[in-house]
Symmetry: C2
Subunit: 253 residues, 2 copies
DNA sequence: CGTGTTATTGACCAACATCAAACTTAGTGG
DNA sequence: CCACTAAGTTTGATGTTGGTCAATAACACG
């Protein structure tokens, strides 16, 4: 019954993620492995949680890409973060009872719901887990701040370069993504909604990034031709991701 | 020994703030009152904490306005939040050891430093305090998200209207601010850095807001002439502040 | 294959930035 | 109390990034 990482693959993803940002005791790992998961498959474009909901479970992403977004008055959408396997996307629901935004599957997704009560019990028994989960919500906030700085003060070219650096780094930190690139499982319109741009402009900037030989984009794949060039174009410094050194090293070429 | 709110005025501000977002037991209130505070007066334009620091205390604002900001590659500044009396501005330092941004006094400020150890001890003894502080960091994150949506998708006019609604609501929620307005203790350049604009453009938009009879700005004061107009111009809905009903009602005209 | 989605490109436009200068306000020191 | 100064506000002229509108091309999937 025990998988290669000492639990079901769903638990393993979560443990890998928590290990990328915090140090877990063996005891805590076992507690995570015992968390009850209610597994579900969601089609693309379906909401996982919606603004106004009062969830009683948290949602762990097992497979696929998820977006956190708000809809504004004139129907515009702002995506505030992308999430990948291992992320628990609504830990905040533990303490903020009403959702002030929505979460949506961008690709077909495997997700696992964990009752708030089970998480609370695990945290009570293992304060290190409490630290890890709180820390995780703080890292999310740090990413919000970095995105805010990008949207407010960086050019479209810098923003897209920065986004690619961030996604690549985050995927590598949890053992996904390849040596020199990653599969970008979102459309240009979704990039636009994340960066405060239009899809037309995203398309033009991507062309420029290709022409500058920073990336190649065969199909849905982003192949990084020149990491240092992309990093400096995007003014990317991964400190704000607060990754542990071990996880960060996964990125180096 | 007990003041009007049952403690020194510095503690009272913090309690008032925590009460605006969470329900505190009398026991927890007493624990907050016993938190050791190291008081300091800071001149305007001085950093309270800087990017790269590894603080061992948290900073409570007792008087004045504070900005959270990042400096980017080309010397541009993005302000990510404003803070007022009662806010603990770097609770995240409890779990993220290295600051990924800075905090700066915009006005002369009274601040109180609280050792991490004292906060941790209080939270261990009173789990409700732990909930309240975690919740506070989650509300901060909710505000980041709202600002991100504004910078990414709202016009300059909407953003400024929204900011004024937010500041007014937050000041009222902790018992500061007047019936129909508040003292705006920041410059137009600082508004610009918060909203991803230039000070020139902020100035022009303020003129438009005045001409539309939404506000008056005698000196540093923002007088709200038409709350409903300002609210709808800024597409402001206070849900994301996650204020308790009692605190929210302080805003109604 | 067809049909809907996504990507790409062009022509034109608007919001906001940049540059520069004048004006107002708030301190500061004599 | 008044000059002097520095900071902040206001305004105009002009430039640029990125938006809008629209059409076509390339995919993806049943």
């Amino acid at each position: 019954m025990e998988g290669p990482a000492g639990g079901a693959p769903e638990h393993a993803r979560l443990i890998r993620k928590l290990r990328s940002i915090a140090d877990l005791s063996p005891d805590a790992v076992r507690a995570v492995e015992r968390l009850p998961l209610r597994l579900r498959e969601l089609p693309a474009d379906s909401d996982i949680v919606s603004e106004g909901d009062q969830p009683t479970e948290c949602c762990l992403i097992v497979e696929g890409w998820v977006a956190r977004y708000k809809l504004l008055a004139r129907g515009q959408r702002q995506i505030m973060s992308f999430h990948i396997a291992g992320d628990i996307v609504d830990l905040q629901g533990l303490h903020l009872k009403v959702m002030d935004h929505s979460l949506c599957a961008l690709t077909p997704c495997g997700v696992a719901f964990i009752p708030h009560a089970a998480l609370e019990e695990a945290m009570r028994r293992h304060p290190v887990l409490q630290t890890a989960f709180w820390r995780d919500t703080l890292v999310d906030a740090a990413v919000f701040r970095e995105w805010m700085a990008g949207i407010g003060r960086r050019t479209a070219y810098q923003r897209i370069a920065h986004l690619f650096c961030e996604q690549f780094t985050r995927l590598r930190a949890v053992g996904l993504g390849d040596e020199n690139g990653f599969e970008l499982r979102i459309t240009q319109a979704e990039i636009a909604d994340a960066l405060g741009l239009t899809s037309v402009h995203v398309n033009r900037v991507l062309k420029a990034l290709r022409q500058d030989r920073l990336i190649e984009t065969p199909g849905r794949y982003v192949n990084i031709l020149n990491w240092e060039g992309l990093r400096s174009a995007g003014d990317f410094d991964p400190s704000y991701l607060h990754l542990r050194a071990a996880a960060l090293n996964e990125r180096s070429p």
